[in-house]
Amino acid sequence: MTPNGGTNGPAGVENVLRTEQLSLSFGPVAALKSVNLHLERGEVLGLVGNNGAGKSTLVKILTGLYRPDGGRIYLDGEEVRFRSVQDARQHGIETVFQDLALVDELSVYHNLFLNREYTRGGWFRFLRNRTMRAAASRFLDDIGIDIPSVDAPVAKLSGGQRQAIAVARAVRQENIKILLLDEPLAAMGAKETSLIIGLINSLSKKANISIIVIDHNYTHLFEICDRINVIQHGQVTVNKSLSEISLEELIEFMVQSFRRDVAAGDAK
């Protein structure tokens, strides 16, 4: 444990985010045992792991939704404890959740602005629907996401379109410093995938935003990531930059460890 929270990335680059021995159990299920990871400024970190390894749980802790049982989170070297999602957002953490966090009944633009509505009337917080709709429409046009109408309820969109809306909602924020993407490409077609990949790349390079991406498609990850972490049974077991590991090696490693898990399971 380093006393100064850790502004010491391997290449001497500043760590925007670092976790120390994060743990969380759901009753008897230890979803996270002891997660140590770090994220450098402007870096894209790929997080891989089998189903149930604890990736989404980690994201939900980093976004203030779950409180960890133990461990510490450092932002820019300072320890933080998130009291709520709002709190994490105020620290500049934006998230695309695996379930997308969209409300089917609401229109696209209401989803885009959910809990960050433009309002007037002070305490009453009257919605400024027309302003929001116009801004939503313009923003989606700007980043190249094509949907039939911002007035349509999200339920009427396709899976890929919904994902695009969820990503757009996260990257719309101005004070964003860290972006957490939990399988943002899972349901997307080739065109949308390359669009989102382009978006991620430009965000990390131009806006200097640090990103964690979770994806089961390693080919995609190798296109966007600088470094790969593998989570297994609630722990980070592999931490390699792209220069240290090839796509084939990663796949081989995952297959091997999967075989070992199955064998261990059979032995019990």
Binding site: V103, E105, L106, H110, E117, R125, R138, R172, Q173, E174
Partner: protein
């Protein structure tokens, strides 16, 4: 990302193809309920010359107003996927709270305010038990309903009393024949603006639609739900006090559950989903009109009070079957069953025509 700034020019590039078509599509159950209401009005007007008279308008308003206020109170809770069974008993209890405070030596108006605060407190307890302690709201509020009934019966010894108050205030509060209707309209407008025009309303719909998504978006789900229970109890208490002054006597043995169910039924007839996520204040009012007209209309036609319940039940069932079938026929899941198919066909023809009009 400068598009974060408020838009300089209002209005979007993506203008909806046809606002009317979209409106009908989104508010189908409300539209159907309104049609049912009109059909009922025509039916009763043909059957009896006494239905469409100014005298009966007043009577009708007195049927509809309490249904409407109960329905309005339940709508936010129903949207959240919860239910408040205690609102009817809150209605019975509130005027007794007023007499209690008054006997304790407090003037009428402060007594009323104090009683409403007590109702809010009880609503808060409803919320705490069902949200924080995770007792299903159906049971939590049922317990509250029985407890309230017990308290009032003990307090009053089961004997009816009269509401207290001076003349002017009584008139405003419910003594004047039309005052309840005016309260109902006022509350409806307020709640409609709240539900459709404020972040609180938007968050109610978000939580009701998908509470996990709402939580992930940073909405404080528990807080929203508890506030809705408080609001419901407050409205229940308010209508109770109004009606107490309107009727001029308070009977502690009145069954509050029936009133509550009229409210829930009105809301559901007006398109509020019992499963949550959907509901409008306008729909609740339309539902209350339908229910009120059924009650009033069949009474005018001379239906015996025994048969009245039967007729009411059948009409409610009919209206709801129509509503559900039409909803299903036009929902995204596609039509199921022959009736749904037929309705869908009619609907698609209507909307096709709507499209043509817009193009020309």
């Amino acid at each position: 990302m400068n598009s974060n700034a408020p838009a300089s020019r209002e209005g979007s590039r993506r203008i909806p193809v046809s606002t009317i078509r979209q409106f009908i599509g989104q508010h189908l159950t409300e539209v159907v309920s309104a049609l049912v209401a009109v059909a009922l009005a025509i039916f009763f007007a043909i059957q009896s010359p006494n239905f469409l008279t100014s005298d009966n308008a007043l009577v009708l308003s007195q049927f509809i107003a309490p249904f409407a206020i109960f329905a309005l109170a339940e709508v936010p809770i129903l949207i959240l996927g919860e239910i408040d069974l205690s609102v009817g008993q809150m209605y019975i209890a509130a005027p007794f709270f007023v007499t209690y405070w008054h006997h304790a030596g407090i003037p009428v108006l402060p007594s009323v305010v104090l009683s409403l605060l007590v109702c809010c407190g009880l609503g808060f307890i409803n919320g705490l038990i069902s949200i924080s302690l995770r007792v299903p709201s159906f049971i939590a509020t049922l317990g509250m309903a029985f407890a309230l009934r017990g308290i009032i019966l003990i307090y009053s010894n089961g004997a009816p009393t009269n509401p207290i108050g001076s003349h002017m205030l009584v008139n405003i509060l419910g003594g004047w024949a039309w005052s309840e209707a005016i309260w109902a309209v006022g509350i409806a407008v307020l709640l409609h603006v709240m539900l459709r025009g404020t972040t609180f309303g938007l968050h109610i719909v978000a939580v009701g639609g998908n509470s996990e998504s709402a939580r992930e978006s940073g909405i404080r789900v528990e807080r929203i739900k508890i506030w809705c229970f408080v609001l419901c109890a407050l409205l229940g208490g308010l209508i109770g006090i109004l009606d107490g002054y309107h009727l001029g006597s308070l009977d502690p043995a009145t069954d509050g559950l029936t009133f509550m169910f009229y409210g829930v039924t009105s809301a559901v007839i007006g398109g509020t989903a019992l499963t949550g996520g959907r509901g409008t204040m306008v729909g609740a009012c339309i539902g209350a009109c339908v229910l009120g007209m059924i009650k009033n209309g069949f009474l005018i036609l001379g239906t015996s009070s025994f048969a009245l319940d039967l007729v009411t039940g059948m009409t409610i069932l009919l209206a709801m079957i129509l509503n559900v079938q039409i909803e299903q026929a036009t929902s995204m899941r596609g039509p199921r069953g022959s009736f749904s198919r037929a309705v869908n066909l009619v609907f698609s023809i209507v909307t096709q025509r709507g499209k043509g009009k817009v193009r020309s």
